[in-house]
Symmetry: C2
């Protein structure tokens, strides 16, 4: 490596919601070492579906963690007792030597498309970074089998992050990337997409515990209500990597004018 | 009451994140009984800052709960071991006689403005309803004193919900309402606002436990980076009730064209 180049290497913070020992974050961290200096700060345990939760009523703990001992090296790794959003906050305030240039989250084991982004800890880590003004990308592999191969998805992540490092993201924008579970040569390319309009139709499963008390398991049916072809769901169904630009401002600007005409009080 | 009017009364589901025994939800439920039939489904314990978390790895429990015994009557009340989003899901699938016409959430004890809406369980209950196609409004009182008076805020909630029942909300839009902590005659009116651009600068407080292990309390400084006068923060600071229309589609449509020009893979 030419002298001086080392100093310019991007500082990359890697997080996830499946937990620091998940295979997806191993693959992502490994891919990122080709691009920059990698710092891993991720939950000690699985934190799926925690959304943008933060930990306020109990303390957060963090400790150094063995990571990347299988052929690649990260600059530092910490496991956190907390949510993905906690991880980003404490990484920046306490654990990292300085502000990272980029935050990547994942690779999540399972899709984060449509309305599911709201429940996703993986995406919330990237959102948290974006709030702090840091470029951020969330990656998810759209496959649920236990032995899923994260290799092709890690290659996709590397390619996308190289572009982000190169050109930067528009201010306040993060990328939510979903990758079909397929061999590299089966991928149709990448599409910039919109979050599909969809919802879950809940069907809680009712059971009775040994003490005769009823309890419920969340369960349901996912319903895609979107007929457009430029959605994240359409892209995945058709073999494309889906890249959805997202922001964290939830204001429905299009509704402001009509609502302002109502005499509310 | 004239005959027939009873059948047309709106079915109102009331939720919160401070817990079913919080004073804010008592005030809100009471105010709603003037408008429709009230069903309360709220967390058994405080669920602040859980964001849009849902409960997937443990069962959800729900049980009938004594509620509204101080001068008003609700049609049903259930306490749920789960998050606000869980409450909405299980209310609709299991606990309510039918689909509610309206979901109201709150009155939260503390503001849900700017980026804080992402962490808010109060708002997530309304968001969850909005995903399901139900009109929804989240209410927060911008005061933190233990003895805060929810009376004026409950009156504001009643007035706003009456309008929502009257005119309906645009499809996919929910309202996030923040109410200054002030006497009714001190309120300057209501403004339709935008979510302010702001962020938290974290300063985790480091402590050592009796076993010599370090732990951290989340703490920080809130920074308003928004100079506009039509934001939720501006409204509250100037004595107005802030009504922010929100949606749950996080797509940054404005970024799609420029990102589509990049060769990502």
């Amino acid at each position: 490596m030419p002298s001086g180049q080392s100093a310019a290497r991007p500082q990359i913070l890697v997080c996830n919601d499946d937990g620091i020992d998940a295979r997806g974050i191993q693959g992502l961290a490994r891919a990122m070492t080709a691009i920059g200096d990698v710092h891993v700060v991720a939950p000690m345990d699985e934190q799926s579906a925690v959304g943008h939760a933060i930990t306020m009523r109990t303390p957060v703990r963090a400790r150094r963690w063995p990571f990347g001992d299988s052929g690649f090296e990260v600059k530092s790794a910490h496991a956190v007792r907390g949510t993905p959003a906690d991880c980003i906050k404490i990484a920046i305030d306490k654990l990292l030597p300085g502000m990272p240039d980029l935050v990547v989250s994942g690779i999540n084991h399972g899709a984060n498309t449509a309305v599911n982004v709201l429940y996703s800890g993986t995406v919330s880590a990237a959102t948290e970074a974006s709030i702090l003004g840091i470029d951020a990308v969330a990656f998810s592999l759209c496959g649920y089998t236990r032995g899923a191969d994260f290799g092709p998805a890690a290659d996709v992540a590397r390619s996308i992050v190289e572009k982000v490092v190169d050109v930067g993201l528009p201010r306040g924008i993060l990328l939510n990337v979903n990758i079909p579970s397929a061999a590299a040569d089966e991928l149709q390319g990448a599409l910039i997409t919109r979050q599909a309009r969809a919802r879950w139709e809940e069907e809680f499963e009712e059971r009775t515990d040994p003490f005769d008390e009823v309890y419920y398991w969340l369960s349901g049916r996912f319903v895609d209500m979107d007929g457009r072809s430029n959605t994240d769901l359409w892209a995945i169904d058709n073999g494309y990597v889906s890249i959805t630009p997202m922001h964290h401002d939830l204001t429905a600007n299009e509704a402001i004018a009509s609502l302002a005409e109502i005499d509310w009080l």
